[in-house]
Symmetry: C2
Subunit: 126 residues, 2 copies
């Protein structure tokens, strides 16, 4: 149940969107599914270095409950389960794109600041 009643009512849209996206691996899962279109459980696990099986299933269930991810079970042995984005999931990812670009720019900015500091520290002492 994890986060059962889906914290509402929301004050604004950001609020509502952050609610479904917040969770340590949710953004990465969405990104991974967007990149590959369709992924099996173990593929996702391998694609997200450090995720535990518990959190992966939990987040996938929440994303499914929120109508962002589609879960298709094939009645085979060994079992095969395929995850993909729903139409709503794809619109969410599209809305997330500018944020991702901002994040990339921020990482670049931070890294260049680090380099400046390192260079400053490397200067000979007067």
């Amino acid at each position: 149940m994890a986060k059962a009643p889906r914290n509402g009512p929301y004050i604004c849209g950001i609020d509502a969107a952050l609610d479904v996206v917040s969770g340590k691996w949710k953004g990465l899962i969405l990104w991974e599914l967007d990149e590959h279109g369709m992924r099996r459980f173990a593929e996702l696990r391998r694609g997200l270095p450090g995720v535990s099986e518990k959190m992966l299933t939990q987040h996938l269930r929440e994303l499914e409950a929120d109508g962002l991810v589609h879960r298709q079970v094939h009645a085979e042995v060994p079992p095969r389960v395929e995850y993909s984005l729903t139409a709503h999931g794809r619109t969410l990812n599209a809305a997330l794109a500018p944020l991702g670009a901002w994040g990339v720019a921020r990482i670049r900015r931070e890294r260049s600041e680090l380099v400046e500091h390192r260079d400053a520290a490397a200067l000979p002492r007067p």
Copy 2:
């Protein structure tokens, strides 16, 4: 210290952006500052129904440390402190805008589903 080393390294941009935005009131604070341009501490507190003073100061400090919010102290009595967005804060808000729109659409969708369910429940039993 709150979240001291700013969880890096990031796997992708979404990751980095969500890191600075996640926090119960961060999105609302950003939105409030974007709407009004400049706000005093008590104005923000009144604008965010339910926020505690502790969380408001903590979030504002983190946003300031992340270079998103500018904090101007006027040496007066009683003290006056004004918060506003930096250039980076404004670009973040711009990147957040599509997500906000998505959230609004989602709220509308959920509400209409609720109405359908209510109407279905209100049908006369056969």
